[in-house]
């Protein structure tokens, strides 16, 4: 009896491993060992861990990416930053080897000598210089290695998503296993995520149906949400435009990088349509919560595919994925 009483409050806090297993939830250990280290060849990691390389690679294969404005590689360029930024109104500065939204500065407008962050806060040239010099020193890069800063065009996101994302560009994360899209979600920026759509920074994650591109439901900081916390928009009404193109773009990244377990970040520009923002060789697990579904059953299906099926054309793979993973 006493044992039962002790178990009750714990049940609310913890889920039984058996239940997780039944729901096919992919855990960190399984992800690392069964998918990342099995399907991702270490030699290809630099292609995705370095955003500059990803961008160049994508351009080679005609995959649309946000336009590169400049690359800042050394401290003396930092002193000269004024010259680079003179004519720019809106742009994004990010560390080439950053991750999780760290070190990304999204500037959407200009007010005299200052630039305006998406939240409305003003940023001076000096602050930008300091930020860039931190990036170069490796403050935001994996393992603290020296880095370069990328200046790229700021995306103006598609009209149909206005209201769903607050002060920042929403991005769409598609997990692609061996060239087949297996699960998707969109991440909506919030005031607290400061212009970036990274869940760690406080963005809302919304699961997206592979078949229709429609919302399933949302999570924020691990909790389920129905409406966007800043705009109050009903998340259930969300529909990603150009959905088929988004999926095909994501699936093509496999052919380009050779990485068999990949997280692709796609943004939708108002004029140029879906674009590849970055690639991830170690995509997070939160996508399962946003979909209310585990990844494992879908991944196991992909595990069993033959080599011939893996080499099918992109459109065919996307069609099969949508058919298999419709719910």
């Amino acid at each position: 009896m006493a044992l039962l009483n002790w178990w009750q409050p714990l049940r609310k806090m913890l889920i039984a491993p058996a239940v997780l297993g039944r729901n096919g939830v992919l855990g960190m250990n399984a992800r690392n060992r069964l998918y990342i280290s099995r399907y991702n060849n270490r030699a290809f990691y630099p292609l995705v861990d370095n955003k500059l390389k990803t961008k160049r690679l994508a351009e080679q294969f005609d995959i649309p990416v946000p336009e590169l404005i400049d690359v800042i590689e050394s401290q003396h360029q930092v002193a000269d930053l004024q010259r680079y930024l003179q004519l720019l109104n809106s742009f994004v500065i990010k560390p080439s080897k950053g991750s999780g939204g760290k070190g990304i500065l999204v500037l959407q407008g200009r007010d005299g000598d200052h630039w305006i962050k998406s939240s409305g806060a003003l940023v001076s040239l000096q602050e930008i210089q300091r930020h860039v010099s931190n990036i170069l020193a490796g403050l935001y890069s994996l393992g603290g290695t020296p880095d370069v800063a990328i200046i790229e065009h700021c995306i103006q996101f598609d009209q149909s998503l206005v209201g769903f994302s607050h002060e920042g560009v929403p991005d769409i994360r598609v997990i692609v296993c061996r060239g087949y899209p297996v699960m998707a979600m969109t991440r909506l920026a919030t005031h607290s995520s400061d212009g970036k759509a990274n869940l760690h920074q406080g963005a809302v994650g919304v699961g997206i149906s592979l078949l229709t591109g429609k919302a399933i439901f949302g999570v924020m900081q691990g909790q389920r949400v129905k409406i966007h916390p800043d705009t109050g928009e009903d998340l259930a009404r969300l529909q990603i435009p150009h959905w088929q193109t988004v999926l095909e773009l994501a699936a093509r990244c496999y052919d380009v990088t050779g990485l068999g377990y990949l997280g692709t970040d796609v943004v939708i520009d108002a004029e140029r349509g879906p674009m590849l923002l970055e690639l991830n060789a170690r995509p997070g697990l939160a996508i399962q919560m946003a979909n209310g579904q585990g990844l494992l059953p879908r991944l196991r299906k992909i595990d069993q595919l033959s080599h011939a099926e893996i080499r099918k054309p992109v459109a065919e793979r996307v069609r099969l994925s949508q058919q298999w993973f419709a719910d």
């Binding site: 997780l20 855990g27 399984a30 020193a137 399962q288």
Partner: protein, 509 residues
């Protein structure tokens, strides 16, 4: 799948079998106990004798310890490439090295194994003759007064000695004692012996070591042996310069030389220096006797114990690191705790072993917190990263220095132990935490910092456990078992404990 895993499974099995086999072999054949309690402690003390030779014949004589209260001498040996070595038994036991011609810096080793036992008395030795010393004024009258006071409040030789020592230990000191201390502070043992002689008490300066496990580079310290008729006692000399953080007054005292003979005598060379390393190990009483009888199984008995004591003392700590790594593996793979820097907690835990847990925790938190405050100022200066971390390192050293001095002034000698923390680790911790703070807010700092500290405390707890220390040091096989466990953990693909919490909502759909 199975084919691919076969070599792996085989490897794990071989490691486990070899590890467990080695443990059992050592247990059964050499009688090394599996639990620390079932055994007697054996101290290995190693003297390292260095000197500079100039191409002349060299003769070095080192007094060797005899059995005494607390210790029984089991065996001794010397290492001395190119030297002739003679052990002189009997009354004035010693080791004597000789060489026709030596040039440059020379190093000789002497090692003795001592069983902790109370079966022996001090070597009987006739009381030395009384010698009359004289002092210039005003010291002579100060000496006379101190001796007179001690004499009047005592009954026999031993209580007279205690009274005399008390006068030197008292705080504040009487004026005439202060006078003597300031004049003779570096010749205090000799002064005390002379004062005792003046009161008609035979006494001598003898040299000994306090045995503390794993200490290296120790020097002999003077003690005073006092006679009353046939019996004699040994007294500590007051006002010795000692690092209170390192010195344990309750550690067992080994008198290296009990009679007052010179400890070393070097002819044909100069610049001699004598230092000691010591380590404690456990052996069953039977094994130690067996060991004493024969040393021919050395080859089979492959263990760290065949290394010089100084290296053994180092290995004792090094062999614990795999245990810390195992704890980190467990916590990360099975629990999913986030730490800042994968194996940093192990290094912190190592520091905790030196400082003791509470002192270590408090010191660590205080230094890191102060460091964070200073670092937040540095971050406003807009420095380059390398310069900033260097600045943090320097401030950390300053903080540690400040705290040590403050702690010492307030009599908190525990506080001195903070110097055991590796500075670079502290600085990196501060740097990472402050970036984390700026980037993800204080919550993440508490989460990762707390995770690191929790891991460090658990690793400390495991590494400081007497049973685990006993096992890792006495059974090399434990390392293989740990390796096998780590390999097994590396293939675990189940859920982590914290994931059960993270995915708690996954049920409801």
């Amino acid at each position: 799948m199975i084919k691919r895993n076969l070599p792996y499974a085989l490897l794990v099995l071989v490691l486990l079998a070899a590890g467990i086999g080695q443990i059992l072999h050592r247990h059964w054949v050499f009688d090394v106990p599996l639990l620390p309690g079932e055994s007697q402690s054996i101290w290995s003390v190693e003297a390292k004798l260095e000197f500079t030779a100039h191409g002349e014949p060299v003769r070095v004589r080192l007094a060797t310890p005899d059995s005494q209260p607390g210790f029984m001498v089991l065996r001794d040996s010397g290492a001395s490439p190119g030297y002739g070595l003679n052990f002189i038994q009997g009354e004035h036991s010693a080791a004597e090295w000789t060489k026709r011609s030596a040039e440059g810096r020379q190093v000789l080793f002497y090692r003795v194994d001592l069983l902790e036992s109370d079966a022996h008395d001090l070597m009987t030795e006739k009381a030395p003759p009384i010698m009359q010393a004289s002092w210039p004024e005003p010291y002579a009258s100060a000496v006379a007064q101190v001796v007179k006071e001690a004499y009047s409040t005592s009954a026999d030789h031993f209580s007279l000695t205690r009274e005399l020592l008390k006068a030197f230990e008292a705080e504040p000191k009487a004026q005439h004692v202060q006078l003597l201390v300031s004049q003779y502070h570096d010749k205090l043992p000799g002064l005390l012996v002379n004062m005792l002689n003046m009161a008609g008490v035979p006494a001598r300066v003898v040299y000994g070591l306090r045995l503390q496990d794993g200490r290296r580079q120790q020097l002999l310290e003077p003690y005073i042996r006092v006679w009353q008729g046939q019996s004699s006692q040994v007294f500590d000399v007051p006002l010795q310069q000692r690092n209170p953080a390192l010195f344990d007054p309750d550690a067992p005292l080994l008198l290296w030389e009990q009679r007052g003979d010179p400890v070393i005598d070097v002819t044909g060379a100069d610049n001699s220096q004598l230092r000691f390393s010591m380590i404690r190990k456990e052996e069953s009483a039977f094994a130690s006797v067996a060991n004493r009888l024969s040393d021919q199984h050395e080859l089979l008995n492959f263990s760290i114990h065949s290394l010089p004591v100084e290296e053994q003392a180092m290995f004792k700590t090094i062999l614990l690191i795999p245990i810390g790594a195992l704890v980190v593996c467990l916590l990360r793979v099975l629990v999913g705790i986030k730490t800042s820097g994968t194996f940093m907690p192990v290094l912190i835990a190592l520091a905790f072993i030196q400082t003791s847990l509470i002192t270590g925790l408090v010191g660590f938190l205080v230094v890191v917190a102060t460091g964070l405050v200073i670092r937040s100022y540095l971050s406003r200066l807009n420095l380059l990263l390398v310069a900033r971390i260097s600045a943090v390192i320097i401030t950390v050293i300053a903080i540690i220095g400040l705290f040590s001095v403050a702690a010492y002034k307030f009599g908190l000698t525990e506080g001195l132990k903070i110097t055991f923390f590796p500075m670079i680790i502290l600085s990196w911790t501060i740097e990472r935490m402050s970036i984390l703070w700026e980037e993800e807010g204080p919550r993440e700092v508490v989460k990762q910092g707390g995770g690191s500290l929790l891991t460090a405390v658990l690793a400390f707890w495991a590494m400081n456990n007497p049973l685990i220390q006993h096992l890792t040091f006495n059974f090399i096989g434990v390392q293989l078992v740990v390796l096998a466990l780590v390999l097994i953990l590396g293939t675990y693909t189940g859920y982590r404990l914290l994931e059960l919490r993270r995915f708690v909502d996954m049920e409801t759909r």
